[in-house]
Amino acid sequence: MLTEENIDAKRWDGIYKLLDRSSLIHPDFQPIEEIKDFVKEAKILVIGAGGLGCEILKNLALSGFRDIHVIDMDTIDISNLNRQFLFRRADVGKSKAETAATFVNRRVQGVNVTPHFCKIQDKDEDFYSEFALIICGLDSIEARRWINATLVGMADPESPDTMKPLIDGGTEGFKGQARVILPRMTSCYECSMDMLSKPTGFPLCTIANTPRLPEHCIEWASVLEWPKVHGDRKADTDDPKDIQWLYETALARAKEFNIQGVTYSLTQGVVKNIIPAIASTNAIIAASCCNEALKIATTSAKYLDNYMMYTGNDSVYTYTFQHQRKDDCPVCGQSALKLEFRGDKTLEDFIEYLKEKPDAQLKKPSVAIGGKPLYMPAPKQLEEALRPNLEKTLKELLSSGDEITITDTTLPFSLQIVLTLV
């Protein structure tokens, strides 16, 4: 008869060899029984149950973690099935978190995955403070910024329990990255915002007057024509009827201008901002994240410090490096962000500049000085009252060296900027 311990020892043979045996490469590692208990008992949070999330849940369960939580607000779409392997055609429309949890609990006996079918913003600090470690498999910059700012905000260097390691993965096509963030100790997500590429957008005047690319025609259909024809009703990008309308409208415009290349698939890609995604890249990045999680939780080998980039287009290439903290990081930095801008430019110019700044990623920023708003995009009455400020030059509105505050719905914190007018 096999006892439960015997079964465990055989089942987790590969990992237990790592945990039972000392290492000369990692001399600080102490192979003690408590480490195995810690793996069994530690509460781990997975954010996102999509392409990366499915992989992460599988990997954590097969790393011997038992108390795993997963949070995702999304439901399953047919286009997920080429990589989100815990879902089947019959699951389309169901909660990703719940379906994934049920599957893993059934397959890997002994594990208990708890689903949370909601937004990460619906949970408070008490919720997040229960976890030993958090792994993110998200496709949204906004959600990453939020969880990063929340975890950094919770971290008190005086009490180690409040420092929640955050392991973040991301993929796009054949490329991806995995990183380890130790709040207030290593560079955080916000420190690396300048590594993001500029948000793709097309100038309104190009879309309206001088279209050249099929994408310009699609943007015209969705940004300019849709509201004209449909009024307040927003296009539902998951509804084939709406996509069909946008496609046909874009196609007609393209014909008029002799532009080739408008297809249904491209229309969908542009209006939904679709990023190509495949199983293999997700597997690589998720496994890398979970490998780091197991190393951090067990101290059995040194963990990633702190960033690994992967590219698979041409051969297999990874670059592992230490991303540096930023002193003026608005989330974990020590000093205020300094910026120079021409004083004879208008507030509107400045706001446009902020929107295009890749490390800010703002959509509709509000600007205030000393608690007094200079411009706010909403509510309507306030916007109208402040609108004249947009035309004024910065020189008229403030003096050089003033500290201004930027807020935005996409920003989970306010951005303090010391503005020098030149």
């Binding site: 079964i7 055989k10 089942r11 043979d13 590969g14 990992i15 237990y16 060899k17 790592l18 045996r21 000392s22 290492s23 000369l24 490469i25 990692h26 599988k58 990997n59 097969l62 790393s63 047919i78 286009s79 099935l81 080429n82 990589r83 392997f85 059934r106 397959r107 890997v108 096509g173 995995a178 001088t210 050249r212 201008f257 002799n258 249904y264 698939s265 890609g269 190509p276 495949i278 199983a279 293999s280 890249t281 997700n282 597997a283 690589i284 990045i285 998720a286 496994a287 890398s288 979970c290 490998n291 780091e292 040194k302 963990y303 698979g312 287009n313 051969s315 297999v316 290439y317 592992t320």
Partner: protein, 530 residues
């Protein structure tokens, strides 16, 4: 959009309908339902591989359940091949799974041509001896049949925190390498239609709106033309000369905000580079496959031959490759942009037609019908002709018999190189040869360190490399791993290997050559040509 296009939408944006078709007609063999082998299959079944077959004589043990997602506790004692096939098949109804509960060596004795039906033969949890034997069958098959019928061989394994994979494809030709950009603007050597185009813009009389929308290509062509006239027909070559061209362009601006002029200025350095046939493509021209073209040659080499003749016929090609016909977006009015685009496209089509004519002649000469390569394929070949790629992997046998000792010494001289893991895996294979088991498998694992150290030394000596090149700590570490399978490492290698297999099957993007190593302790990978 049909249901299949919806399901595969996110990948079709990477490899298109032709890549998908190639996947759907592929058949993959997995020898042994190891954790890493099943992970590779998972990542191929999901995107819709046509068929897969698992050959495994074993039954599911508890350690399989702890490291492989395609077994559960109830699978213990059942056939590994059958159970893995069952759970993997659930992933995608489009992929057809087969399983054979047998040992591959026995199977090959019964059916010597068993491997012939597969696109890819992947082995794991096999000895070096067996891997070499199977690799040789695949290699010889490729030599005796048309290159179209090659079988690619993959050997993948994980040991503790280490992962390794070796690919053997005797010859892999790629047209769609997916470079970042295929734009080829010919500013230094405009063809007549392009030269006529920029002259349609009157830089002096246009109003400011029109002037601000002159495409930057026309701006570059105009000022390049002026520069050439002033310099005996030469293009700027030195840094100083390129700056002079920039100054010339700047002098033509009406206001500092002319975006189109800014675009022109930022393209000066690139545009001054002479358009030439890249050396990598010239190398293809002198490839033995081109010299010795036969009716059995694959289309790729027929087209390279045609390309070579096209370039040689300077009256038609000016000694350059066919034009790609693609231009980037630029500030311009719709009409002038579309006009410019159509000029490049028309020239590309014209070039492709010339290449097609030559192809017809080449085909006839080798005894194939002159229209046996479709024009769309010739067009695509021409479009990507500057980026064609041929990857030739060495056989596994030559890796062992004729080791690249100079490169090996260089890799080992780098203390941070992940290459040391290769030495340890090879030494572990030698250890297996001595003991019939792998180092560190038993409770008394530390007793194996010394013997393995000896295997390492023997191996290094055989390469003529410093015996101390691998530290005792590292030898100790691989004994610590004791051949244990850790799922994270299996999953990571499963991702890497499936990605390489997709590249091989779709003939898109560029596969690695020929060994990838991952060290999960250091979180680094390396690719080595062995």
């Amino acid at each position: 959009m049909d249901a299949k296009t919806q399901k595969y939408d996110r990948q079709l944006r990477l490899w298109g309908g032709n890549g998908q078709e190639a996947l759907e007609s592929a058949h993959i063999l997995l020898v042994n339902a190891s954790p890493v082998g099943c992970e590779v299959l998972k990542n191929l079944i999901l995107p819709g591989i046509g068929q897969f077959t698992i050959v495994d004589a074993g039954t599911v043990a508890l350690h399989d359940v702890g490291s492989n997602f395609f077994f559960d506790l109830e699978s213990v004692g059942k056939s590994r091949a059958e159970k893995a096939c069952e759970f993997l098949s659930e992933l995608n109804e489009d992929a057809k799974g087969h399983w054979i509960k047998n040992d591959i060596s026995t199977l090959l004795k019964e059916k010597p041509d068993f491997l012939d039906q597969f696109t890819i033969v992947m082995v794991s949890e096999v000895t070096q001896e067996l891997a070499t034997k199977i690799a040789k069958i695949c290699w010889d098959h490729g030599k005796t049949t048309q290159a179209k019928k090659q079988i690619s061989f993959v050997w993948v394994r994980t040991v503790g925190l280490i992962g390794a994979a070796r690919i053997v494809t005797p010859e892999h030709t790629i047209v769609e390498t997916h470079p970042d950009s295929v734009a080829d603007l010919r500013i230094d050597s405009p063809f007549p239609e392009l030269d006529a185009y920029w002259r349609t813009f009157d830089f002096d009389t246009q109003d400011n709106l029109e002037f601000g929308h002159i495409p930057y290509v026309a701006i570059l062509l105009k000022f390049m033309d002026q520069w050439k006239k002033e310099h005996n027909g030469q293009t700027p070559s030195t840094y100083a000369e390129k700056n002079q061209l920039k100054a010339l362009i700047r002098s033509g601006m009406r206001s500092a905000d002319d975006e189109n002029f800014e675009e022109a200025l930022s393209s000066v350095l690139r545009s001054c580079q002479a358009t030439v046939v890249p050396s990598s493509i010239k190398d293809l021209f002198s490839d033995p496959e081109v010299e010795n073209l036969t009716a059995e040659s694959i289309d790729f080499w027929v087209l390279v031959k045609a390309l070579k003749e096209f370039v040689a016929d300077t009256s038609k090609s000016a000694g350059l490759l066919p034009l790609s016909g693609t231009i980037p977006d630029m500030k311009a009015q719709t009409d002038s942009y579309v006009k410019l685009q159509s000029i490049y496209k028309a020239k590309a089509k014209q070039d492709a037609q010339v290449v097609a004519e030559i192809t017809g002649r080449v085909l006839e000469k080798i005894g194939r019908p002159k229209n046996s390569i479709a024009f769309v394929d010739i067009e695509a070949f021409c479009k990507f002709s500057a980026f064609l790629k041929v990857v030739r992997h060495r056989s596994l046998e030559s890796e062992y018999v004729e080791p690249k000792t100079e490169q090996i010494a260089l890799h080992l001289a780098d203390p941070d190189s992940v290459f040391v893991q290769y030495v340890l895996l090879r030494a572990s294979d030698a250890f297996y040869g001595d003991h019939g088991r792998y180092p560190g498998e038993n409770e008394s694992w530390e007793e194996d360190v010394e013997h393995l150290q000896g295997n390492v030394a023997t191996l290094l000596e055989s390469w003529g490399v410093d015996k101390e090149a691998v530290s005792p700590e590292r030898v100790h570490e691989i004994c610590r791993y004791g051949m244990g399978a850790i799922h994270n490492i299996a999953s990571l290698m499963g991702g890497v290997v499936s990605q390489e297999i997709i590249k091989v099957i779709t003939r898109q993007y560029v596969p690695m050559n020929n060994t990838v190593l991952f060290d999960g302790a250091a979180s680094v990978t390396g690719v080595f040509e062995l």
